[in-house]
């Protein structure tokens, strides 16, 4: 585990700490931590407020007074020569002592942090800020990365692991991700969920694995704003998608059912647009034999009146291939009753408008298959859609 964390940390070090969490600083200073640490000066000798600091907004950079203990600074003598550096420009490069020195700006990190608690637990400065003995001026680079925090804040045993322990939260309890400096997004260090431009299309493997993890930053209504079948997200459904969508849908190349149910969303629209044949909307009526064929020749063997068409079961265009390969494509246009028109068991009363019945649609060795017996054991009703209850073939696979 430690090795894994180290690798994670190394992986993240390359990119530096987040510019959103630690905004860019302005540090017109010259300072050598390496030099001062070589003289065995303790961190809190200069950073006197750090051990007692309880909030991330506390300004912990030493003021001039801290330096004055060793450096005989005299503002009246900006170019003073002394054994220990005392000139103004020794620390403020280019400043000649007139007016105020160039301003140091260290924006408040967008975090909660309590130095006092960490110090009281015996955590040394370098554990979070790294080895300062080789560092000259400390910058954002010496701020800890999230992986460093997670070396303790994991599992809740060593230290609390809730996001809100460190991150600022929205009223809903989710992590605040929008800041003036940009948007906070996962690096991928925890779950491989780096929000790259393609993540919107690839996020299912993370989201389906652990819904709660995503909910640390996203409210559920955010998910539903896309997965609702109302407004097309343009990166999924580009221009003229209505014309193009059949290719995607038949191939199932995007998971249509994540937003659209086939039987309650797709069928209605396809019927309305006339691309699906409505064999009997409502109660039995005369069938509408459509002139347009959305399926190729050879798709079915007979029409509903029993007259042979050009297709045979051996026809390469026969619909059985498509239904068995990818029934979803069928279910996007057809209701179950379309199948029943021809596949209802011979023992059933024929539908008023068709002479065809009893074409066996079951896959090979259906009766002997575990799928048949399992389905029957769980829901016999489905059998009685095609078979009459007196049809002893209906439950033939029942143990």
């Amino acid at each position: 585990m430690t090795a894994a964390l180290l690798v994670t940390m190394l992986f993240l070090q390359a990119d530096g700490p987040s510019r959103v969490i630690f905004p860019e600083q302005s540090l017109p200073l010259r300072f050598s931590h390496a030099l001062h640490l070589k003289k065995n000066i303790a961190c809190d000798y200069c950073h006197t407020k750090a051990p007692e600091s309880t909030e991330a907004r506390d300004f912990l950079i030493p003021a001039e007074e801290a330096c004055s203990d060793c450096h005989p600074i005299d503002r009246a003598q900006p170019f003073k020569v002394a054994k220990v550096a005392a000139r103004c420009d020794a620390c403020h490069p280019g400043w000649q002592g007139q007016g105020q020195p160039p301003r140091v700006s260290v924006p408040t990190p967008h975090l909660k942090f309590n130095h006092k608690i960490h110090v009281s637990r015996g955590i040394a400065c370098q554990q979070c800020h790294g080895d300062m003995t080789k560092v000259e001026l400390a910058t954002r680079a010496q701020m800890p990365r999230m992986a460093t925090c997670l070396s303790c804040h994991v599992g809740g045993t060593k230290a609390p692991s809730r996001c809100g322990i460190c991150h600022l939260l929205q009223p809903a309890g989710t992590v605040q991700v929008e800041y003036a400096e940009g948007k906070l997004a996962p690096s991928g260090a925890i779950r491989g969920d780096a929000h790259t431009p393609s993540f919107r299309k690839d996020h299912a493997n993370v989201a389906r694995n652990d819904e709660q993890y995503c909910l640390n930053c996203h409210r559920k209504d955010e998910c539903l704003s896309c997965h609702n079948g109302v407004l097309k997200p343009f990166d999924f459904h580009g221009n003229d998608y209505v014309s193009i969508h059949s290719v995607d849908a038949r191939r199932d190349s995007i998971k249509c059912q994540a937003c659209h149910r086939l039987q309650t969303f797709c069928v209605g629209c396809h019927q309305r647009a006339g691309v699906a044949q409505d064999v009997s909307s409502g109660l039995p009526t005369a069938p509408i034999m459509r002139q347009i064929k959305f399926h190729p020749d050879g798709w079915v063997q007979r029409d509903l009146s029993g007259q042979p068409l050009t297709g045979f079961k051996t026809d390469p265009n026969h619909h059985a291939w498509q239904a068995q390969r990818n029934i979803r494509a069928c279910a996007a246009c057809h209701r179950e009753q379309t199948c029943l028109e021809c596949h209802m068991s011979a023992s059933m009363a024929p539908l008023p408008w068709t002479k065809i019945k009893g074409n066996n649609p079951h896959p090979p060795n259906w009766v002997e298959s575990g799928r048949c017996s399992t389905l029957v054991a769980h829901n016999k009703r489905v059998c009685f859609k095609c078979h009459a209850t007196i049809d002893n073939r209906a439950l033939a696979c029942m143990p």
Partner: protein, 509 residues
């Protein structure tokens, strides 16, 4: 004096209330084909959708269960949707009303998507949700009315259990968007109703969907382990048989679904494997397998490799479960670069998908038309292979360039072919914030050629050019107006217009 405790309580509580009202107006045209085979009519679909979301967070005082100021303990969240159509899209066709389309000016148009009273980290270990809720996991998107309780035990294990009623279209002010798929209102006629099966076609047809569908499940889940997350979950949904009478041979009850799933996600530094299995107990088969690994390399390069096995499965009442024989297998690979230079990021992906066509097996059982088989009517054994491809392959490549933090330009090119048809094209899109925090402009150009594989005889292939332009105007904090116009041209349309207007109001107190 009686009211004193209440007054005190109201002072201590600092609930945050949020009201969101989102109005979406869409107008677009759909090509309609008539019974004579002409497809030159354009239907006007004008759709109005109104969301009203109410949320109350941190209902209990922060220190109710201890000094944990980072998490709200008790909350209420809800979303009500009003969705209606105008235009001739809803006009009944000559063959009668289409049952799957909502009736205009009916109660169908009001849908309570969710309404949950929930608790998070109650007493430091308990989460719960009570009400209409939506769940998404490896099993599915799913909605139910009921109670979900999760208890985090020490030792990195959490137990979750839930119970309630599946939300179906027929439930009060419900939406069908997350109901089990495979059956529809349109199937509920004499052809499929159980009355016909027992030989009483004249009886009123009972609607199986009118029956309540109790659902329950449980899950074991790891928690708090940084390098690993696993979840084992089980769910069962069942319903009584509608209209059953003594001696009619119908079962008293049937399962609508019974599934067991296991998901796993590990973080081993730059090597991050993930996977999931779903076993459909109702079909006695694995119907979903996912596995993959994400590799992170130095300087931010990443590679994602995935394998997906997917076998269609439906509501236990659907006969599609019987027809669906084969699964498909899918392999995909995605490569993403780190941010190059001043904000350029590129990616490329490819997939290959195999649709099973074990032609030797299809209809190996005697298949005669009509049944039964006789010497004069011999079985028809399949010898041919299907006309359409059984594989599909595709590649996509793209890049996004950030425009100095105030927008981006993105380009995508794609080619895929095989089962389903051909699709080749590309698009360029962009967004730019022209007035800081006030006004964004966006646009998109698409050129795409497509050839659906099953409609070759209809000549449905076309090359389509589409242009889109939009603006997002933030009037003031919490008030946003988004306008979008899309214009498409292909050999079917001289122009096909789509317009969308979205007004989003959010009030937080």
């Amino acid at each position: 004096m009686f009211f004193a405790p209440l007054a005190a309580a109201s002072i201590a509580r600092a609930a945050d209330f949020e009201v969101e009202a989102e109005t979406i107006g869409q107008g677009y045209q759909l090509r309609q084909c008539d019974d004579a085979g002409r497809c030159d009519t354009l239907l006007d679909r004008r759709r109005l959708t109104q969301y009203l979301n109410l949320h109350a967070f941190r209902i209990l005082p922060d220190d109710w269960t201890g000094p944990r100021h980072d998490r709200n303990h008790l909350y209420f969240t809800s979303s009500l949707r009003f969705d209606t159509d105008f235009g001739n899209y809803l006009n009944a066709p000559a063959s009668g009303r289409i049952p799957e389309l909502p009736r205009a000016q009916s109660a169908d148009e009001f849908q309570l998507l969710y309404a949950v009273l929930g608790g998070v980290d109650m007493f430091g270990f308990l989460d719960f949700q009570l009400g209409r809720q939506i769940v998404f996991d490896l099993m599915d998107f799913y909605s139910f009315d009921g109670l979900d309780v999760k208890v985090r035990l020490p030792w990195w294990v959490a137990l979750e259990a839930w119970s309630g009623l599946e939300v179906r279209d027929e439930a009060p002010i419900a939406s069908p968007i997350y109901e089990l798929d495979g059956t529809s209102r349109g199937s509920r006629d004499a052809a499929t109703c159980l009355r016909l099966a027992v030989g009483r076609p004249g009886d009123p047809c009972p609607d199986q969907h009118d029956m309540i569908a109790p659902t329950f499940g449980f899950a074991f889940e790891s928690w708090g382990i940084q390098i690993f997350h696993g979840r084992l979950a089980y769910r069962r949904t069942f319903s009584d048989t509608a209209g059953r009478t003594a001696g009619d041979g119908l079962p008293p009850q049937g399962f609508n679904e019974e599934k067991l799933s296991y998901t796993l996600n590990a973080n081993l530094g730059s090597f991050r494997p993930f996977g999931g299995l779903r076993y459909n107990l109702m079909l006695g088969a694995l119907d979903q397998i996912e596995g993959g690994v994400k590799l992170g390399f130095a300087a931010g390069h990443s590679v994602l490799g995935e394998y997906i096995y997917n076998a269609p499965s439906f509501d236990g009442d659907s006969i599609f479960n019987v027809f669906a024989v084969f699964a498909y297998n899918d392999l995909r690979l995605t490569y993403t670069t780190p941010e190059l230079g001043d904000g350029l990021r590129m990616w490329a992906s490819g997939f290959v998908r195999f649709f099973n066509d074990s032609t030797a097996d299809v209809h190996a059982l005697p298949a005669c038309s009509p049944m039964p088989c006789t010497p004069a009517n011999p079985p028809d054994n399949r010898t041919a292979t299907p006309a359409t491809d059984s594989e599909a392959v595709g590649v996509t490549a793209g890049g996004r360039y950030k425009l100095s933090g105030r927008g981006h330009v993105r380009a995508d090119a794609y080619y895929d072919n095989g089962f389903g048809g051909l699709r080749v094209g590309g698009d360029v899109s962009g967004r730019h914030q022209v007035v800081l925090d006030k006004l964004d402009l966006e646009g998109r150009l698409t050129l795409i050629h497509f050839e659906p594989d099953l409609q070759k005889q209809n000549g449905f292939e076309a090359t389509s050019f589409g242009a889109q332009a939009g603006a997002l105007y933030t009037m003031t904090q919490g008030v946003r107006l988004h306008l979008l116009v899309e214009e498409n041209n292909n050999r079917y349309y001289n122009y096909q217009l789509r317009a969308i207007a979205l007004l989003d109001l959010t009030f937080l107190r």
